[in-house]
Symmetry: C2
Subunit: 222 residues, 2 copies
């Protein structure tokens, strides 16, 4: 079965790719160059896609900096050592997953893909509303109502294999499938050499995940 | 109230802009340079926005030709003199309104807009699924579930003033509000000088609209 895999170059999406591969999907990987300050993740995405031998990998360009408004795309500082306990953090990129899933939907329709795999996770996550199951369900419904393939063939279907897993469980699953996490990058604020800060939300969640999974953390920190 | 207005440069969105203006909205116009073959509509959008004195007009670039798959973005021929009576025509751009509304949602969040106005119409339309009220409702729900502003403030709200109007009614409303339809372009396949073909679905619906409204058609045909 042909499937679009949203591939950021991070830990979660690399795991999703490995799961889709284990399920023998024909993989059409899709990454976004959206003006993220951690653009180094695109190099990681390319390397991961190449190693996995995907059928196709598209890096789609759209400059969300035109809108501004997030620590991930603008000059707002990325918070350090302060994993938000409540509320939506400043690293939230307005409507990011809505935008990414929309483009994935268009890509799926054109390429004849029946599925869109996305590594959203509502357990060890940053509190972004577009990572929650109720959003995924709502967006699935919009696809079924608002696209040719949705109306005629009830597709593409959104597949979220990580939704209810802890970060440690994600890592354990990925390691079992042979994912090389040293190829992935999660940091929101890496240095020029691609080394992780170790202190942003994403680094904290990742580091905790390796600790709880009792697996050596291969991340290169500064 | 601040509002995003999706402005294509066509007849419908120019009317939406005039209605929003009459309702005293602060207008943040948003157009898309998505690789459409009728890119001349962007010049129309710029002129219409300038004449209306909008607060802001962003032309957002994203190249949907990367995905291919529509007569509007690829080398597939635009059908002539054959308004589809059933089915979804080849001019359907995969997930276009999902993509446009997603980006409008991001823009609305960043710019503090409470509304997104879009000129979808389910009466005299081409049969695109993403112009139907059930899609708009589904997408609204996705916004409320998947964005910071949706979760926290139940916004942005999608506003569709043309949804249940005939093309003739849209034109009559626009004329009453002073819209200069000679500035708008609807043709999917205009010539280099911007003159309409008169034979694509969009031209047929537009021409019929002026006839039924008993208003002189200002369109420049070849």
């Amino acid at each position: 079965m042909r499937s679009v895999i949203l591939l950021s170059g991070g830990l979660d999406s690399a795991t999703v790719l490995a799961i889709a591969r284990a399920k023998e999907r024909e993989i059409h990987a899709l990454s976004f160059d959206y003006g993220q300050r951690h653009r180094i993740e695109l190099d990681a995405a390319r390397a991961i896609a190449a190693k996995a031998g995907v059928a196709e990998h598209i890096v789609f360009s759209l400059d969300l900096r035109v809108f501004g408004g997030s620590a991930l795309t603008s000059s707002i500082e990325v918070p350090k050592d302060a994993l938000a306990e409540s509320g939506i953090p400043v690293t939230y990129v307005p409507a990011r997953n809505i935008i990414f899933l929309s483009l994935a939907t268009g890509f799926a329709e054109v390429s004849g893909c029946e599925e869109i795999w996305i590594g959203v996770n509502a357990i060890d996550y940053s509190g972004y509303p577009d990572c929650r199951p109720e959003f995924i369900d709502a967006f699935q419904n919009a696809i079924l109502k608002g696209t040719k393939s949705g109306v005629e063939q009830q597709r593409p279907r959104i597949v979220t294999p990580l939704l209810e897993l802890s970060k440690a469980e994600i890592i354990q699953k990925g390691v079992a499938l042979g994912v090389d996490y040293s190829m992935t990058t999660s940091c929101y604020d890496p240095d020029q050499a691609g080394r992780a800060c170790g202190h942003c939300d994403s680094c904290i969640l990742r580091r905790r995940g390796f600790e709880e999974a009792a697996i050596a953390d291969p991340t290169r920190y500064r």
